[in-house]
Subunit: 402 residues, 2 copies
């Protein structure tokens, strides 16, 4: 997408859509009539291909071929196959990522694995603004080990660098902040953690599929992320887990299940971890959900993560500009970074009546969401949203405010 | 089902089917033509209702209503709703079970929760014959805490009672053994563990949905189990977790995710566990898989667990009798208990060429499975299997042996 001047009239937005290199991608999703969906950051929409694929997986693979599908239809390889499909989106190599469990469970595995590499350090550092489940996972893990071994330390974002002392075992951060969409400099924060001798675990839930992530190039140690946001895997889709290749054989998942065993069907008494990322598998993989996730990831791959990021930036920029122009004087304050490079694919505004405004917008067909106490959050997913949708959404917001 | 004499001719088996109180249940499943499926203990077949339900959940709930479905279609309640549906099958009360994660992940939570109640005891006792994932989970958890705190001790089944010393924190057992189908006396083993001051964690994977389990009546502390075997939830279906009500508020899951928080959408920094079993939730629930599991469980409920058990016993008894009569002299040895009360819903025979026999049976349309080194394992699921299927399966086995 070329850099264009901001639309002045609705036809300009339509012209942007006409020139959008990703315009055909929208047709790959089933989208409800009359709805402008600005919540793809919470739950991505349904890819059309998923409908047919799940019909096949349910009716043919499960229904007809039953247990034989584990080999006949490659069910057993699905977690690694989907991991390999996600890998290029996050700067990983084949064999560095696997799809499994939930983001929370995967973060737990990674905190244990990374803390195990720094047995002489007792601080698990994160930021106060981190997504709560990340903090809860960290607290639960630290409580299990006991505070002599591990303590969770939370600091404001601005003080992470100075908190990276010689006692920090692991830095746990979310790449894109869930409230404001502010994006960390992943390479810089990784380097800062490494300079302090700490490992870094990234939560990519709000960036995977919407912005390129370069785990490999930045040397990041471990990461996990969500399958149901920009990866379009469906409600509660499996998450993914990444461990840098040279670390894989040095670490263990604390949750050792048979699918992470080197030879699951040998039914040995003793756990022997599989080589590579497969050791982060645990129980039997959820086939229906993995098949859906594979379809969702395929659309991101097809579009190209760089093209998605270009459009994402253009959409969020347009949204900010239009809101600030059209809704000026209505007490709205931008909560997201103005600088594109520091922004994920969402835009948030503060307003004293944020909750009521979000409800009114939803009633008017514009689905965003509210985050207490005063935040309106709008996800601008580049895979299906049109520039005219952004235009119309702001018009409706303006009408409600007026 | 009344007690009947064993069929002498194929028509007798057909007569048993004609008189089978559960005969209509078979029609609720989609079953492949020309296949006798003796592997429902590995993967239950596809309920017809699941096809329509998933079409609705995918196309309508996810596709049309998107994020609004969390409230509009009760997605947020699904883990507890499915848990409550499973509860009567395992002798639990409403609010004592929840559907979540995999069996392995749930066992991990329970080992941590139960060991936490016995901080002064350092043995996690299990049996050598336990399903490997259970042992791997125990080993991983013990390794994380360190051997000064917790040691996994494995003993043969016959020596569990004597191994229940004052150092045992938790006894981890699987109700029905995966190789032989031998069923523990759940009440007696629970009482033995309690007498020794230990807690007991039951894996119900091979019994839930095929035999009544009385967790409540036996006073069992905790349990987990599988959704994709006799509960017909589909490949890799979510598992369930049970904690006796009076223990729930004394224990914590080590994997603390936002769905186990008392107020997930308050996005507080600190974890406050939800009251009751909900604290054993963790990440975002997998909606597609939970909806499928709900359909599978509904069929078990509809049939009635006592009727299923009656038929299961009749099927396994017939299978054993027919094999021993028709295949005598072919070096087959029964590996399952002859006494019905000690047998799950599967029958296993040992044979030096077990692998080749199972392959030949599969090629002939009789799907069972092989377990190294010499076991042929046949699951006889009462929900869809006919007596004539048992008759025909044995005829084919005999033909192959001959």
């Amino acid at each position: 997408m070329r850099r264009v001047s901001l639309p002045r009239i609705r036809d300009d937005a339509l012209a942007l859509d006409a020139g959008d290199e990703l315009s055909a991608l929208r047709g790959e999703f089933l989208l409800p009539e009359g709805v402008i969906y600005l919540d793809g950051n919470s739950l991505g929409p349904l890819p059309r291909a998923t409908i047919a694929r799940l019909e096949q997986v349910i009716g043919r693979e499960w229904g007809e071929d039953l247990i034989r599908s584990w080999s006949r239809h490659g069910w057993i390889d699905l977690p690694l196959r989907v991991g390999d499909a996600i890998a290029p989106l996050i700067g990983a190599q084949p064999g560095e990522a696997v799809a499994a469990d939930s983001t929370s469970v995967n973060l737990y595995k990674l905190l244990a694995a990374s803390a195990g590499l720094r047995p002489d350090r007792r601080v698990l550092l994160s930021e106060e603004e981190n997504f709560p489940t990340d903090l809860y996972v960290a607290q639960g893990f630290a409580a299990l080990l006991g505070e002599e071994r591990l303590e969770v330390r939370l600091v404001p974002r601005a003080r992470i660098a100075e908190a990276l002392g010689a006692d920090v075992a692991v830095l746990l951060l979310t790449h894109v902040e869930f409230r404001t969409g502010e994006m960390h400099d992943l390479a810089a924060m990784t380097a800062a953690a490494h300079d302090a001798g700490a490992l870094v675990v990234w939560d990519l839930s709000h960036s995977a599929g919407a912005a390129p992530v370069d785990l490999g190039g930045s040397g990041a140690d471990m990461a996990a992320g969500c399958g149901y946001k920009y990866l379009n895997g469906g409600p509660g889709a499996p998450a993914f887990v990444y461990v840098r290749r040279d670390l894989q054989d040095q670490v263990l998942s604390p949750i050792q299940g048979w699918m992470g065993h080197d030879d699951p069907f040998a039914f040995e008494h003793d756990y022997r971890p599989a080589p590579g990322i497969a050791r982060f598998l645990c129980g039997t993989p959820p086939i229906l959900s993995l098949a859906a996730l594979e379809c969702g990831v395929a659309l991101v791959t097809q579009a190209g993560i760089l093209a998605l990021r270009r459009k994402s930036l253009a959409l969020t920029e347009l949204f900010i500009a239009r809101v600030e122009r059209e809704c000026a004087g209505f007490d709205l304050a931008l909560a997201s970074p103005r600088e594109g490079a520091r922004r994920g694919s969402q835009v948030s505004f503060r307003h004293p009546q944020a909750y009521a405004l979000v409800q009114a917008l939803i009633a008017d067909g514009v689905i965003g969401d509210f985050r207490a106490p005063d935040l309106m959050r709008f996800g601008l997913s580049p895979s299906f949203l049109r520039f005219v949708d952004v235009w119309d959404a702001v018009e409706r917001l303006k009408a409600i405010l007026s």
